[in-house]
Amino acid sequence: MSRAALSWSIAGLLAAVLLPWYGLEDGLGSGAWIAGLWSSEDAASGLAQSIFFGRWWLAPTLAASLGCLVVSLLPLAPARRGTGLLIAGGGGVVLFAAQAFAVGLRGWNAGWLLSLLGEMEQRQVGIGAGATIVLIALLSLVSIGLALRGAFGGDAFVAGAMTTVTASILLFTAWPILHILAQAFQDQDGALRPLLIVDRLAESKIWSLRCLAGSGGCGVVWNTLFLALCCGVGSTVLGLSFALIATRTSFGFKKILRVLTVLPIITPPFVIGLALILLFGRSGLVNQLLDWSFGVQPTRWIYGFPGVLLAQLFAFTPVAFLVLIGVVEGVSPTLEEASQTLRANRWDTFVTISLPLMRPGLANAFLVGFIESIADFGNPIVLGGNFGVLSTEIYFAVVGAQLDYGRAAALALLLLVLALGAFFLQRRIVGTRSYATISGKGDSGLATPLPDAARRVAHWIALPWAGFTLLLYGFILMGGLVKVWGRDYTPTLDHYAKAFSIEFSEGGVIWSGAAWNSFWTTVELAAIAAPITAALGLLAAWLMVRQRFAGRGALEFATMLSFAVPGTVIGVAYVFAFNVPPLEITGTALIIVLCFVFRNMTVGLRAGVAAMSQIDRSLDEASATLRGRAPQTLFYVVMPLLRPAIVGALVYGFVRAVTTVSAVVFLVTAEYDLATTYIILRVINGDYGLAIAYSCALIVLMLAVILLIQFLVGDRRLGRRALPVQGVRA
């Protein structure tokens, strides 16, 4: 560990001397900065900046780095070395942060500093390579110091992982989001007025109950809640039906069912809404048919609550299914067989044994449906009509004529409260009761067939829905292959040609299609983000399940933040937080990748937590007894057992990165345009053919990527004799 401390100290100092401290206009690629390391104010290293260019406030941080080197070199006992590193490294981090936030683009950032120390001549821009490496080195030295002092079982890996996870979540989730939510308590000029939030939230538009009296629309909170409840219940019922059919019946087309459940997850937003309009809209096929055959006046029922609910059920039933299928599979046949031995009939067994055992799964599925519905923006905006929900209201507070970030922040807080309320309610309902049905003991492993009545109900619910899904996707596929969808049904490949044409010339391949640019950017950034998302999420999960540390709850809460806050708010929060030094990264690919990673990490974390609580601790202990250290245990014991969770996190990380819209609208630039923002511009233009053709191409891409990930990561191989898995916990 001392060697590591030494290497990090040296790395930090080298970065302070040999790399430009601040960010460069055109990056490090050109190498032109090397000449200016000591002479150019832009490209100077940290040391040169503090000596030659009057940026004295960098000196203390550099001194702390030097201090770390001294501590690493001195012949000290491990514990004392640890203390030394902790003081020098921790001091360095604090000094770094203090100067970075105190001095900005216009000199002193805070008024009291200005009045205390006078006008500042110097400015500083965003940090660059040198400063970043110095900071990372200091953080690493702190974690090594902690480990040397015996924290985290004296394991530097755990300490390092802990530092990485905490620092990154603080920096890229907690800080931007709390920063913008704080605006709910500020007036337009940024002055603190805590009571303002009462004004902002006391509008009749938010709370009105007029719809109950039959006079006008209800407030957006009630709309949101009602929609979310319906969506949660509906997607749970549908998901359960599918899960029961898939595991407990001899239904013949389970493969197709599987594919159907994946499709909506990988469908870019807006597409389902558009397809529903084309099917059920006033001039949609169904209405035209009814009008033509029965003379029924076409109506506009799809716009508003029914349409939004329908679209959300489409979108979120698959998620509920994925949550439930594991639980339904997990319910051990042993108890059901016991019940039948005691002369309960199949129906009683199902109602009194199987269903209650599925309770954690049902509660989780409901929670996911509920939260997804609250945070959903794409469907309400396309199909909402006059039916407003919180997410659309927030969007219009930001981009509408109001341009009121304070109001947006207040509404976002409200939304967060709803989401967290549901989260805690779910915890209460599931409680601490044990639902463990998988143990080391073998059971017959033959699932009891469903009672006839239940099977019929499940069939009646699920099969029409599946048929409907097929129909809708048939429609979507067709939409990209006809001239003008809904108007001119002449088959054509024009839309695909316009988006994805390729020309061959002597110079090689020319990607002349209009969509290639955004397509490749999306693939590249999503491919960078997905592994980081999965790694960070699973690492955080491992820390939360296996390590005991103070502030675990707070960390968990921080990760929930970015999941429950609507994308528009995240986007604006990122612009606010990262458009000014010290971290000035707007307009780069980095900010988009970070946004992907920290917005989607929560799901990897949840999947990881769930999967890891199934793996008995005794396996870790066995590894430790055999002298396996934490990283070895993680890589050779835990990870292979986590393969389904890894696949899940990777797939989700990729798919969500490709389909995200609202969060990245404010982050894309001409250089880094993304597929979804491109599609939306097409939709706004009314160019549905191209939008749908592009979406179909994305669906194919994501299917291919999912298969590839599945192939690369592989399956979890469990011994057949007895499951080495124990205790499914709530």
Partner: protein, 344 residues
């Protein structure tokens, strides 16, 4: 231990490779573009050809652009904001997000475009204008046997019950122009009476200004209140859409352009600004099938474009009704008196 190092070193490396501060080098101009995307790309390519300056073009709606300008105000990343309805530009001028500039081309512009400039203290200028009117679906109206609307009064007729769509002024500048127009030629109280009566015939207040005309094109609604050039675009795309303008008179928007305050490429921004006011640049709108009226007097106008001379325009007071305070007041009055009415 080695793993810790690897892990952290990996993070460091990833951070390094991704670090590249956006270019602000010479020969670049960053344009936020709020007109239709084809127009944006065409403008970018043509300006690049004409000047040799590289254009970095980001297309966003005007609401999103002003939200972005406001969020970036501490450290602006854009240089010019091209296009989009005039009110957000005036709002940006009011909030001091944009820079005053007197282009030598001002003399060549129509008076309404120049007035936009003087009204805002030089911070924005008109690049095109579009009149408000009605779009209607000829097939749907024929099927119902209803005559196309020609006047504001027509819209109140019972045969249009549930057939009319207009955007919600909370989210759309188009709808606000409609309200301001009515207020200006009827007087405020009468205008709100009218809007309340109109409410009975409206099937939805769409979210975006172009939403209603798209709904007309696809037969989801019979009539929309929207900018007529948007209707022409739909008609050219092959939909059964026709447009008309109100016989009592109508208002119009002034699509505008502003320079971002503290732009990093100020000189290039001004070059783009001057170029965008030339006839050569303003022709591009029609090439991209957008038929607003260009602000340069000498720009040739294509035959498809609605002609201002044939439209009865009211004397729309952009300065008064472009003020944030006035807009907030009218919109909240609309919210209380019209938006909250029970669903027709």
């Amino acid at each position: 231990m080695i793993s810790t190092n690897r892990w952290l070193a990996g993070v460091a490396l990833a951070a390094l490779t991704l670090f590249a501060v956006p270019a602000a080098a010479q020969g670049v101009v960053n344009v936020y573009c709020s007109v239709q995307v084809e127009w944006c790309t065409l403008a970018a390519a043509e300006f690049q050809k004409a000047s040799g300056i590289k254009v970095s073009m980001t297309q966003k709606g005007s609401g999103e652009t002003i939200a972005q300008l406001k969020a970036e105000a501490q450290n602006p990343k854009g240089d010019v904001w091209f296009g989009g309805t005039g009110d957000p530009h005036l709002q940006a001028a009011e909030e001091n997000l944009t820079e005053a500039y007197k282009s030598p081309k001002l003399a060549e512009l129509h008076p309404w475009a120049v007035k936009q400039n003087t009204d805002s203290g030089g911070k924005t200028v008109g690049i095109y204008a579009g009149a408000l009117g009605y779009g209607y679906n000829t097939e749907l109206l024929a099927k119902k046997g209803v005559k196309a609307p020609a006047c504001w009064a027509d819209l109140l007729k019972p045969e249009f019950k549930g057939e009319i769509q207009i955007a919600n002024p909370n989210s759309s500048g188009t709808a606000y122009v409609a309200i301001a127009t009515l207020v200006q030629f009827m007087g405020e109280d009468k205008a709100f009476d009218y809007l309340k009566k109109l409410h009975a015939n409206i099937n939805a207040y769409a979210r975006s200004g172009t939403g209603p005309i798209k709904a007309v094109a696809r037969g989801e609604t019979g009539v929309s209140i929207s900018f007529i050039h948007d209707g022409v675009t739909e008609a050219l795309a092959g939909f059964p859409v026709k447009v008309s303008t109100p016989c009592e008179g109508t208002g119009y928007e002034i699509g505008s352009m502003s320079i971002v305050k503290g732009a990093r490429n100020m000189a290039n921004a001004k070059k783009f600004y001057d170029w965008a006011l030339t006839p050569e640049a303003q022709q591009l709108g029609a090439k991209a099938k957008q038929f607003q009226v260009p602000s340069n007097k000498t720009t040739p106008v294509p035959p498809e474009a609605p002609k201002f001379s044939e439209i009865k325009l009211i004397d729309y007071d952009q300065a008064k009704y472009g003020k944030s305070a006035e807009r907030k007041r009218l919109i909240s009055r609309w919210d209380n008196e019209v938006g909250s009415l029970p669903k027709p």
